[in-house]
Symmetry: C2
């Protein structure tokens, strides 16, 4: 019987990260517009993803499928998402990027979906509706990453609203520590790499929160600042997400090899930055 | 060719509301725990919902399926959501309650899902990541309701954070008017009925935003204050949502009749409050 604190995920993540010497999370976001020609049909997405997973499984600390890229293909897409767990080795955690933000009975259904339908180890959540959003996921012992400062241009519209001397995402970081204590869980934060100044601001309020960092590569974020400023006080490395830069490294027949090369390079780049930083 | 302003939805809503003399939105949230015994299996959900729709179609202005209650049953559930459009008469709008809050390529996939897979006329969105969230839905001419002040107890955690003299949800109301002008669309707001004081506060900043109001009934919100304070300056009635109170009005064989009775009563109660208010 699992105990409700998400430690299964964090432990699994640590082990996988150690074994693969990796802080790289590969985003599994199948996009027909970008996929190699011979895979450009919904029924071939599964084979495409299997090739990608086979080619990168020893280079990652987790995979992150985004719900949107599956349900947009309807039943066929959801079937692929359901079957991902069968082709991702059990020792590699799955972070389901659903950005769920609902409560009560509805939140329960999303938590049930994440655990029972997808077999995810962790999920991403939107904090807007308050800590009620976390409850059903805590109950099911799923790891949680809370949206904090995201990587899109419009992040300033709401996330960076000024509140006295701080801004909303700083307030959220602070509140996330309270929620973490309230539930007795380790609580991760999603921090985009496109705005390097946010790392130290968030770290100030949430010194121990592991960061999940999208926005490297296609979105133009800087790897070095993300790696250097993203580490927790306790030395937990930021989890660096890449999707397009790896999945679509080549649109030819060599896509799996190209994905392996791109993933290996990014993993090594992260480790090199970290080693130099330690010196 | 649709023009990107959501007017198809708002026009369809107005017509359906006029024809059925109704501001009632029935939430189609199939919950096996609450369903009549003879329907307690995923493969019977579709028949259950068809009975509910047949019994209430002339009493509503829209139906609101919540994504969570379908994907939690996996492929079978998504199939039901895909087929809802076939059993909901075309003239009745579908508001897909997905509380989507993602951007860029990912947001595009959710918008594609809403329009092409579900056949929705409108959706609910989470504003946290900024106006980027709205773009793909505006492009597809879907009606939009933005979460503002929700009906759950924990709404105070983030939504009611103090910002100077106001709180976050008031700020969001104000920003929603800017977004509405930026995109040239009518933009609805989700305002929970459980905190009656929020209606006039939000109305102050967003005088013309149609309200979608959950939290009546099972969640304990007060109908009268919702109806009275929820109307726009232009006289648009708030859309009152009920799900459990109608779908599970009876757990016996008479569930469809009981649903019809409950829906009819709520519709009439709303209209009576409004008529007395007009005098």
């Amino acid at each position: 019987m699992k105990t409700p604190s998400g430690e299964n995920f964090w432990e699994k993540l640590r082990k996988c990260s150690d074994e693969n010497s990796s802080s790289l999370v590969v985003g599994l976001d199948p996009n027909l517009d970008l996929m190699p020609k011979m895979y450009k049909s919904p029924e071939k997405i599964f084979s495409f993803l299997r090739e990608i997973i086979d080619a990168t499984g020893d280079l990652v600390c987790a995979y992150k499928p985004n719900l949107a890229f599956y349900i947009s293909y309807g039943i066929e897409g959801l079937k692929i998402l359901e079957e991902l767990r069968k082709i991702i080795p059990e020792k590699i955690p799955i972070i389901l990027d659903g950005k769920f933000g609902d409560v009560g009975h509805t939140g329960e259904q999303y938590a049930k979906f994440s655990l029972e339908v997808v077999g995810a180890d962790a999920i991403t959540l939107n904090p807007y509706m308050g800590k009620d959003v976390l409850k059903p996921f805590v109950k099911r012992n799923l790891g949680i990453f809370l949206l904090c400062a995201t990587s899109n241009p419009g992040y300033s519209d709401i996330e960076a609203i000024a509140i006295g001397d701080t801004v909303l995402f700083e307030k959220i970081s602070k509140i996330s520590v309270e929620w973490s204590e309230y539930f007795g869980i380790k609580l991760g934060l999603v921090v985009g790499a496109t705005h390097p100044d946010v790392f130290s601001k968030i770290r100030h309020y949430a010194p121990n929160a592991p960061f999940l960092v999208p926005g490297i590569g296609a979105q133009g974020g800087k790897l070095e600042s993300a790696v250097k400023s993203g580490r927790t006080k306790g030395g937990i490395m930021p989890l660096i997400v890449s999707a397009r830069g790896i999945l679509y490294a080549s649109s030819g027949k060599d896509f799996a090899n190209a994905a392996r090369k791109a993933a290996g390079k990014l993993r090594d780049d992260i480790n090199t930055i970290m080693e130099n930083y330690d010196e």
